[in-house]
Each structure stands twice: as structure tokens, then as C-alpha cells.
């Protein structure tokens, strides 16, 4: 069988259920693939891993992937299983943040490590500086969890619809005590978990064909996960080496993830365009400086749907 190494963006959780299901249910095997799934972590940069030859294909967010491309790691999007963004800013109502107009003067929690691009684009679109001045917002590098909100160190924090949001809820705060600003709703959504490979490899026909099979099998996994969220969550739990994840949380995450999924994993050109525009519009400090060329291809998904 052909060997494929997949580098995830984050730790083993239902966010990556499709790949684990495809592995567990033998979809990869059927496609003649021997797939190794490497979980990520807070300080693993998938582009760095693939550049160093530690993976064949990675899961990454498009802003980060395009920024890396400008830095010389020629990443190409070969499939986009997530059609929608799950990112949002979650605020405590009691702090009085009702709309983006209330942001100036506030303290906001943001993920960095390449995940800050959507936020920075949004702020520059709103024209709010992020330097901590009077008219701007004070930005905190948010750690792994939602403590900054619970302990009122920040007025708002970044959350994913499928993960951190529910941790806030679990901590005893009810939905009606929160104001949430989804990037989708604000019109600043950027594409999230996509599959990326190195441009050079795509020159090799056999590789494209192999990726075709990989994407097809992965999408089959996603389809299965969408239909069987509970079982998918259990498969994820089986693969979690820390033994720290909980069933309740993973099932709920799987259900939320299902809402973001695309059917065939083919990159939507309009969504790509919207992401690129958003990233280019950063005023004096845009995330990317020029329109990327060849940053995506349908060659693989076309093969996959054959």
C-alpha cells in the first residue's frame, strides 16, 4: 500500500473525526493507502512539519497556509472538507459588549501561532488598531483554555463553535449571559481546516493520484462521521493517547463539526476569493501582500470524484 503521513493541526479530537473514521473503518485500506495520522499540538506548526519532510499532507487554516506560502513554503490546497468557519468571539454580556462598535478600549483574547490572521483582518476591516491604545483594543495571547473569560481577565475571547464555546457553557455560564460574534455572520469568515501539500510534489502524477484516493477516502470518513456522530466520537476517543478527552464533549463537538462540513471537499472558488480578499485588505499590515498564484488546485478533488 502507498504510505501517506497526515499532520493534524491540533490534538486528537472530533475536529478531525473524518480522518480517524476513515482509518478505523478501513476506508484508507480499501483505497490502497497506509495512512499515519500525527496529532498536532499547541506549538506544532504544520507548514514547518511538511517543509521539513515530516508529513505528506497537512491540515491547516487557509490564512496560515497562504502566509506560509509567502514565506517560501509553497503550500497548495488540494481539498477543503470544511465549508464554513467555526470561529467566533465570545463576550460576557455583563461587560456590555453588544456589537463590534463596543470593541475599542476592550481586552480581547486571541489565539496566535498563525491563528491570529482572521482576527487581525477583521480588526483592520473595522479600522480598530490592536496596539492597546485608547481607541484600539488590547490583545491578549490566549492560552489553551477559556479561563481568561471566566476570570474576567478579558472581555471577550476567541472560541470555536464546536469546542471552547461549550467549555464556557460547562463552566456554568448560560447562553443568555453571552454575546457571540461569529466570523461567518460578520462577513469576515476565512476558510478553516483544509488539506495542503507541497507544490513540487504535485508535479508528480502518481502523487496526485495517491492524494486523490486519500481525499476520496477521507471524505467518505467525514460522511460516515456526520451520519454517526456518537460512534465517530468514540473512534476519536480510542485514538486519544492522553486518555483525557471526555465522551460528552467529543460527541457534542462532532455534532457541531457536522454543521460546518462540505459534501465533496472541493474548494469553493468564491470562498477562496473571499478569504484572499479579506487577508489582503489589512491596510498597512496585511496578512499577505500580493495575490497568491497557484495556491489551490482541483486536480486532486477531480481525481477523487472520478
Amino acid at each position: 500500500a502507498d504510505e501517506v503521513t497526515l499532520q493534524l493541526k491540533w490534538v486528537t479530537q472530533a475536529q478531525f473525526a473524518g480522518y480517524y473514521v476513515a482509518q478505523d473503518k478501513g476506508f484508507y485500506e480499501e483505497a490502497g493507502l497506509d495512512v499515519t495520522i500525527n496529532p498536532g499540538g499547541p506549538d506544532i506548526a504544520p507548514p514547518q512539519v511538511i517543509a521539513g519532510g515530516g508529513a505528506d499532507v497537512i491540515v491547516d487554516w487557509m490564512p496560515s497556509a497562504l502566509a506560509s506560502r509567502e514565506k517560501g513554503v509553497a503550500l497548495v490546497n488540494i481539498a477543503q472538507p470544511f465549508a464554513k468557519s467555526g470561529m467566533m468571539l465570545t463576550c460576557l454580556k455583563e461587560t456590555g459588549v453588544e456589537s463590534p462598535d463596543d470593541f475599542p478600549g476592550r481586552t480581547l483574547g486571541v489565539w496566535f501561532f498563525g491563528n491570529e490572521y482572521p482576527f487581525l483582518s477583521w480588526m483592520s476591516k473595522l479600522g480598530i488598531p490592536t496596539d492597546g491604545g485608547e481607541k484600539g483594543v488590547t490583545v491578549l495571547k490566549q492560552g489553551f483554555n477559556v479561563d481568561p473569560l471566566l476570570q474576567k481577565q478579558a472581555d471577550c475571547i476567541s472560541t470555536m463553535t464546536y469546542n471552547e464555546y461549550w467549555q464556557v457553557i460547562d463552566a456554568g455560564i448560560t447562553e443568555d449571559q453571552l454575546n457571540v460574534f461569529k466570523y461567518e455572520d460578520q462577513g469576515v469568515a476565512t476558510l478553516e481546516d483544509g488539506l495542503y501539500v507541497l507544490e513540487d510534489n504535485l508535479k508528480d502524477e502518481a502523487f496526485v493520484e495517491k492524494m486523490g484516493r486519500f481525499v476520496a477516502a477521507s471524505m467518505k470518513g467525514w460522511q460516515w462521521a456526520k451520519e454517526n456522530p456518537e460512534d465517530a466520537a468514540m473512534i476519536v476517543l480510542d485514538n486519544d493517547a492522553t486518555g483525557a478527552q471526555t465522551e460528552k464533549h467529543q460527541i457534542r463537538m462532532m455534532q457541531e463539526i457536522a454543521k460546518l462540513l462540505d459534501d465533496d471537499g472541493k474548494l469553493d472558488e468564491a470562498a477562496y476569493q473571499r478569504t484572499v480578499d479579506s487577508l489582503l485588505s489589512g491596510g498597512s499590515d496585511p496578512v499577505i501582500t500580493k495575490k497568491p498564484e497557484g495556491a489551490w488546485t482541483h486536480a486532486v478533488t477531480d481525481k477523487a470524484s472520478m
Binding site: 499547541p42 517543509a51 514565506k71 496566535f112 501561532f113 491578549l140 492560552g143 481577565q153
Partner: protein, 385 residues
Amino acid sequence: MTDVKLDKFCLVAAIAALLALIFPLSGVDPESGKQIAFVSDIPGIAVAMALCVIAGAAFTWLGVGHIQYAAIILAVAVFGCWQAIEALYDYGIAGHAGTGFWLFILSLWAFVWRGIDVVARYRSLETAKQQSANILVPIAFGVWLLFLWEVIVAGFGVPQVLLPAPSAIGVRFVNSTDILAADFHQTFIKAVISGYVIGCGSAFIVAIAVDRVPFLKRGLLPLGNMVSALPIIGVAPIMVMWFGFDWQSKAAVIVIMTFFPMLVNTVTGLNAAGALEKDLMATYASGYWSTLFRLRLPAAMPFVFNALKINSTLALIGAIVAEFFGTPIVGMGFRISTEVGRMNVDMVWAEIALAALAGTAFYGAVAYVERKATSWHPSFRVRRH
């Protein structure tokens, strides 16, 4: 001794340089299938190699007895290094270096080692000369290491996102002084200094208290050893949870890290005074405080400084690591973790270089004060053998 002793290092240098002239300088260009460059294409490196052969052969016979000879050898090596860099970047060898090139580097290595060796053995009664020799040796060695790093990264074409060349790091360092300054201020001036002072200071006072109360000494110290084994990495998120995002939580981590080395060392030091000296103080009916200040604290100084030195390296590391767990968007640890994610690995290394510089300077400062304050200690006297 009548038989001539051959200088092995120079011999290696000469032979390696000779072979370098023969072997291909670079690999084959994958697209055109042709050699990228021969020695004959690059006059500079050819001259350098020839010089190495000549100098190597000459000094193999002469031996490198004098410091002047070492200067000649080092000069040849510097010229060779310069030509190697030129060949890499101006003649496109970067990423395709071949056997010949590496043999040349080996030759240079032998020269540099021999040169440094001679300088290291240099003895002069004039303090100024001796001191400059003492400083030159580690610097020359460090510069050589940087050169090796540069050549290996460029020669093998290591991707920038994995490991940038020192030259790229240097450029980034110079171009980002404002960011580096802001980060330094946040991490070092605010967090490290305050954490270090509070941690070491409180441990010193507690040590004196513990020493006064034997009960605490027996009860607290064994536990202290356990706490010092606590991985800071686990403590850091808790401190961020307790003391917030700003520098205070980093200072708290530093306090925890530095407290026990200082405590344990000071307590040991307070017991370092010899029995005879203690008896002496007893014959004067010297009181507790008098004995503490006149005998036990001075005797404890070497131990206290030992802890201060250990802590000077621990403190900076602690602050940087703590910044991984939440911080305002400034600081050395913040920058390191953020810029990796942005593939700005040269910036990461610029911060690391800054950390190493600051840490070494900090350590050096403490060591300097130690030398002044405990100049009476035998370890600072000239060794006989």
C-alpha cells in the same frame, strides 16, 4: 630531541586542502545535469585552497611554536572562510556543495583548531596581553561555530523554515531592534529582574530563619527538594491563572524556580564555616548575630553566589516559558511562539540570540560581582599546576 615532530593538525589541513583542489567543488544541477562550478571557475577559492596547502605544508615542518605563527594560520583561515562564503553565495554553490567544498572546510577547521590551541596555551605576565588572549579564544571558537552553521545550512540547502543561517538571523536582528527592545523590556526588565530579586531575596531571608530554627531545617528542606523538582512547565499555567496575563505571573514563576536553589545553597553555606572558626567565635562569647555577620555569612558567600549564578540562567528561561501560557502581545517568549507559527523562523532565532546574549551578560555580571566579593576564596587564586 633531535627528530622533527610533524604538526598533525597542519598536516591534516594541507592534505585536506590538496584533496579539495582535486575533488569536485559542487554537486550536479538537477535541471541541466551539469556541474555548477569547478575550482577553476572561482579564482578566490582556488587561491585560498592553494594558500592552505602551502601554509599547511610549511607549518607541518616548522611547527606552530610562536604566537606569530598562530596569527598567520588564523589569517589564512579567515581568508579561506571568506572565500568559502563568497563561493556559496556569489557562485551558486549554496545547496549543492560537494566533496571538494567540505574537504576545504575540514582543512580550515584543522587550521582554526591549531591556531586557537596556540593562543589558548599562550602565557604572558602582562595582564593586558594575557586577558586579550583569554577573551580571543572563546570568541574565535564561537565565530568558527557560527561559520560552520552558516556553511552547513547554505551548503546543504536547509530550508529557512527549519533552520535559518546566522547571517539571516543577524540581518533580522538588526532590522528588528525596536521589537526586540520592547520584548526585552517586557520580559527581562519587568519580569526577570523583579522575579529574580524577589525569589533570591526571600529565599535568602527564609534560609536565615530556617537556619535559626532547626525544626524548620529538618522539616522544610526535604520538602523543598521536592518542590524544586516540580516541573515549571506545569506551574506556569497555574501562575497565569492566579496572577493574570502580564509580567506578574512570569515573575511568580521565576520566584518559584529560583527560591529553592537559593534556599538550599544558603542553608548549606551557613553551615560551611569550619568547627574551628565557630569555636573561635565561642571563645570570644560572640552572640548569634555577631557570629552570623562576622563568620557565617561571609563563609556562606561562595554558596550564595553559586545559587545566584544558577538562578541567573533559570530566571530568563522561566519567564520565556511562562509566556507560552498566555501573555500580552509583547515579550520574548510570546514572540518566539508566535513567529514560529508565522514561519518567521529567523525572528525566532533573533529572539533566541537576544535571550542568550542577555542571559550570558546577566551571568557574567553576577560572576563579576562574585569575583569582587569573594576574591579571598581559594578558587580565584592562580593554580600551581
